[in-house]
């Protein structure tokens, strides 16, 4: 007999779907089938069952080969590395739970590390803009129940957040949106004709890198003031049409992604997108929400904030928390050669950082805690495979709208494997002894 577990949370993207059903074997050791999840989510669950999975920590030898070591040895190496380092960088945190993040912060505090999460290469610019100008936002259920104007700006949920449109933003029939898709107007701003753009009522095919200009033009159009004939490649008539569509809604929302946060102008794009949202609140009700990527990058920012006061790129080397992205952010620290030990968890900087920031990792003591084999595990001295969070262990996570959802354990990890939190507790306790902390 198999068992079906319902209300499972998908640990892939910031949409954090919590209606997944998973079929497991009677002994709870094997995960057989996944229902309701998108293709990526299903794969995340099923991938945990791979037979060639690494289940033991591995230390790289001088000759480049890997040698299996015990978790105890791995924890010793990690604790000693952090104890010796003058300025260790502890990066990642976005694909693990808040419990592990909390223990990690204790470790960072004892070892006076720099702490950062994947917002550094993602929505960090959003956070800077929010610090400049604020953020009128809402939960995703508000969108489902009320929103009749949906704007996707520089994001492609059809591929990156595959169930976003069906669960929250376009298709659902909510309390005041009984006609579902028919009761909503959809605007997409993207230089490419993406699968999301193909669905839109209005697609503004903007010239690449001209987001700021177009957003500015919208603010002008709301006020009915003069516009040039073409802005950012869009004729003014079309801009006015989009502006009127936004103003005439009862409840609207702008979802935005990496297309605006990491293209030219960066945080300034978000600044003005938020200003557009504020302007629209003079006419109707409008919100704006970043499409967060990793399933718990939001949670990492939350835990950092309530424990240290800042959401990312935090430097604890002086014994108290400092925050100055550009100075204290991971890539800058690595490129400037300021870091003397690298600790990575729940993320893959090896694949996402520029090569000039990855090379130094290979030349310093380094640990990568990750269930997968990744480019980061490939360049690190020690790779510690752990149980899949959200599959083989539970733990709290935060959805892209900051709503906390407690993940579920659905299947046993391979025998002897530890979770992120368990391994971090081992490191913390050793580090406390090494540092003589209370």
């Amino acid at each position: 007999m198999t068992k079906t577990i319902t209300d499972v949370i998908c640990p892939f993207c910031g949409t954090l779907c919590d209606d997944i059903e998973v079929v497991v074997s009677d002994d709870g050791k094997q995960l057989l089938e996944v229902y309701n999840a998108c293709v990526i989510g299903s794969e995340k669950f099923l991938h945990s069952q791979a037979k060639d999975r690494v289940t033991k920590p591995r230390m790289r030898q001088d000759d480049g080969t890997w040698k299996d070591v015990s978790y105890d040895e791995a924890a010793d190496y990690t604790a000693q590395m952090l104890a010796k380092a003058k300025k260790p960088l502890m990066y990642g945190w976005s694909s693990t739970n808040c419990e592990a993040q909390s223990v990690g912060n204790e470790i960072a505090e004892i070892s006076r590390a720099c702490c950062d999460n994947t917002a550094a290469v993602c929505h960090g610019t959003t956070l800077i803009a929010v610090q400049d100008i604020g953020l009128p936002t809402c939960t995703l259920g508000e969108v489902k129940n009320r929103a009749d104007r949906i704007i996707f700006w520089g994001c492609n949920p059809a591929h990156a957040h595959p169930r976003h449109m069906s669960r929250y933003s376009i298709f659902p029939r909510g309390f005041f949106t009984g006609k579902g898709q028919m009761s909503r107007k959809m605007i997409v701003i993207d230089p490419r004709v993406t699968d999301t753009a193909k669905m839109a009522d209005v697609h503004l095919q903007i010239e690449q890198g001209k987001d700021y200009e177009l957003l500015n033009a919208l603010r002008v159009a709301f006020k009915g003031e003069w516009l040039p004939d073409v802005v950012a490649g869009i004729p003014k008539e079309k801009i006015r049409e989009a502006a009127d569509m936004m103003k005439s809604g009862r409840f609207g929302i702008i979802f935005f992604g990496m297309g605006v946060t990491q293209s030219l102008s960066k945080n300034h794009n978000i600044d003005i997108a938020i200003a557009v949202t504020k302007d629209l609140n003079e006419y109707t009700k409008f919100s704006i929400m970043p499409m967060r990527g990793h399933y718990n990058v939001t949670g990492s920012g939350e835990v950092f904030a309530w424990q240290f006061g800042f959401p990312y790129s935090i430097d604890l080397t002086r014994g108290f928390a400092r925050y100055n992205p550009g100075d204290t952010s991971s890539i800058d620290l690595l490129v400037r050669g300021e870091v003397d030990a690298m600790f990575t968890i729940g993320s893959d900087p090896g694949a996402h950082f520029p090569i000039s920031a990855v090379k130094p990792i290979a030349n310093m003591p380094s640990v990568c805690i990750d269930p997968h084999l990744t480019p980061t595990s490939g360049v690190s001295k020690l790779h510690v495979p752990v149980a899949f969070n959200g599959v083989e262990t539970g733990g709290n996570c935060y959805r892209m709208d900051n709503v906390p959802i407690d993940c579920r354990k659905v299947v046993e990890p391979p025998a002897g494997m530890l979770t992120d939190e368990q391994f971090l507790v081992m490191v913390r306790d050793r580090l406390k002894k090494l540092k003589g902390a209370a």
Binding site: E106, E142, S287, F320, N396
Partner: protein, 570 residues
């Protein structure tokens, strides 16, 4: 567990009616005891003031809007970061300190219990994660009910029993403590960009008025017999002339009687009263309505209030009154954050600078002090700053100084740029009253504990109560040479005990105690209709499933303390 005896202190305990007598306080097994063995550690408190640990009835110290404030205000950390030190984790933040700093700061001032005043039910897990990371102090959190769709739908038809069953369910799944109401109906209206500015404005679509919501929730609260009364932030906060809306709201409690086994006598707690006591028609003729409000409250024994003192600091306002925060950003043009929460509530955050050079801010300061000075019964008026809205809680010692010293008030009045306006628009200049230490203990200990339904546990030094004790370096037998000495003395305790564990010594943290999360577990009769309604709302309208809604398990509430209520008999 260690035994202690605190010797020769001047004890102020309204629970036992002790007014500064030299008495020994014995601590054994986490409780106040009649006597202890000779092995007890002796704490010499001669020349010092001894009181029960203070009780915070209303502060925003944990949860999504507090953390949004931390995230979007890095400037709040400037010059306010504290390094790791002994047992203390590092901290930071002035108006919105990190969780660790929050716990330490409260403890160092002699506070041992605090209530988070607004928990969006859907974010209960977040609130509890932060409460878990706030050391030392016992905490509870009030879920917000005043704009909740279930409540609006039940109360539209005056279904008190169903409302009560829903309250019981929500308190259980969110591990909540009391029924909080913020801008009833107005926050739901804000989801459409609207507001309810009087108790009779209809709520869009739901066809109910704020008055019906408040009345119904009081009835449901007393039907259940919860430890705390309905805790209300009325409509029309912060506008000139709002005192009339406040009086309309207070009148809704007329004729209602408290029904509970916890010794609570009030049926309505009006919070941050200062923000609701404004007369005038605009910011130019803005004036105090403290007299009108306190006259009414003095006459009506079933109402309690807290003050919401403006401390003249740069701070971060945050409230579930979403439309007010939008209004505020229009006034001061500082950054505006807002989050509407499906089916339940909303929150807004805006930084604010209460400048002594602005007449309105100075008048707000005066109103906050007028209220406690005009209240005849200190057991029904509690000191708060509505942290961080009117000022950070770390300013309590300064508020105490102003209340205990007319000289300190006059010094501040003379420092205002618009001194004449403060004196003409308020009566602060003619109030000679100076709070006694006994009245202070009533306003910060016995009073709030009683109104929270915790009077049997804390807020006093009677044998058998929790051994939450604060010893201040303040000699009540000597005249106060300089009012600033009051502020200094109440800023850092000589000793603080939390449940019998010494947590503060000479102003430093020496223990983290056994922090508890307080919540209210209500048993009600099975109510299949409410359970079906809940089920339906989750299937159709919530963005998460019912099975994932509850804040469950060790991670969220590692050390729970439930106040049990049996409402099955009714």
């Amino acid at each position: 567990m260690s035994e202690y005896i605190i010797k020769n202190g001047s004890v102020f305990d309204p629970v036992q009616g002790i007014k500064g007598d030299k008495k020994d306080i014995a601590i054994k097994d986490g409780k106040i005891a009649d006597k202890v063995s000779s092995a007890a550690k002796v704490i010499d408190a001669s020349g010092k003031t001894v009181m029960a640990g203070a009780v915070e009835i209303h502060a925003h110290i944990a949860g999504p809007k507090v953390n949004l404030g931390r995230i979007y205000r890095p400037e709040d950390k400037l010059f306010s970061c504290t390094p790791t030190k002994g047992m203390e984790r590092m901290g930071g933040g002035a108006s919105i300190p990190t969780t660790f700093k929050t716990g330490y700061e409260y403890a160092k001032m002699g506070y041992t219990t605090a209530m988070e005043a607004a928990m969006p039910p859907m974010f209960a897990k977040h609130v509890h994660e932060e409460i878990r990371d706030t050391p030392i102090i016992d905490e509870g959190a009030f879920p917000v009910f005043g704009n909740n769709w279930f409540v609006l739908e039940y109360l539209k038809n005056h279904e008190i029993e169903n409302t009560a069953a829903y309250i019981a369910w929500l308190l259980r799944v969110t591990k909540g403590y009391a029924v909080k109401v913020v801008n009833p109906g107005g926050t739901e209206a804000w989801a459409w960009g609207l507001n309810c500015l009087s108790v009779n404005d209809p709520v869009p679509y739901f066809d109910i008025t704020p008055a019906e919501i408040v009345k119904g929730l009081i009835e449901a609260n007393e039907y259940l017999g919860l430890p705390h009364s309905v805790h209300i932030h009325p409509n029309n906060l912060g506008n000139p002339g709002c005192y009339e809306t406040t009086l309309d709201t207070l009148r809704l409690a007329e004729g209602m009687k408290a029904k509970n086994k916890f010794g609570r006598e009030s049926v309505m707690h009006l919070t941050h009263t200062q923000f609701h006591s404004y007369k005038g028609t605009n910011w130019g003729d803005f004036e105090s309505g403290a007299k009108e409000i306190t006259d009414y409250v003095n006459q009506n024994k079933n109402i309690t209030i807290d003050t919401g003192n403006v401390t003249l600091d740069e701070t971060t306002t945050m409230t579930a009154d979403g439309p007010f925060e939008h209004h505020l950003t229009g006034l001061n043009h500082l950054k505006w954050a807002n989050c509407d929460v499906e089916l339940e509530t909303c929150a807004g955050v805006v930084p604010y600078i209460y400048s002594p050079n602005i007449s309105v801010c100075a008048i707000q300061w005066a109103i906050g002090l007028e209220i406690p000075l005009m209240m005849k019964d200190p057991m029904r008026c509690y000191i708060t700053t509505d942290h961080p809205n009117a000022g950070p809680f770390t300013r309590y010692p300064r508020v105490i100084k102003w209340l205990m010293s007319k000289k300190a008030r006059d010094t501040q009045i003379n420092a205002f740029k618009h001194k004449d306006k403060v004196l003409s628009q308020t009566s602060i200049g003619s109030l000679d009253k100076e709070l006694s230490l006994y009245e202070l203990a009533q306003m910060t200990r016995a009073g709030p504990a009683k109104t929270l339904g915790l009077g049997h546990m804390c807020g006093g030094l009677k044998p058998g109560m929790d051994a939450d004790v604060a010893v201040y370096n303040f000699n009540p037998d000597k005249p106060v040479a300089n009012p600033d000495d009051i502020e200094t003395a109440f800023s850092r305790c000589a000793h603080v005990f939390k449940s019998g564990v010494e947590v503060v010594k000479h102003g430093e943290i020496v223990g983290t105690g056994h922090k508890r999360t307080l919540w209210v577990n209500v048993k009600v009769n099975d109510n299949p209709q409410v359970m079906r309604d809940i089920n339906e709302k989750f299937i159709k309208y919530y963005s998460m499933t019912q099975a994932n809604y509850e804040a469950l398990g060790h991670h969220f509430v590692p050390n729970p303390y439930a106040l049990e209520v049996d409402a099955t008999h009714v």
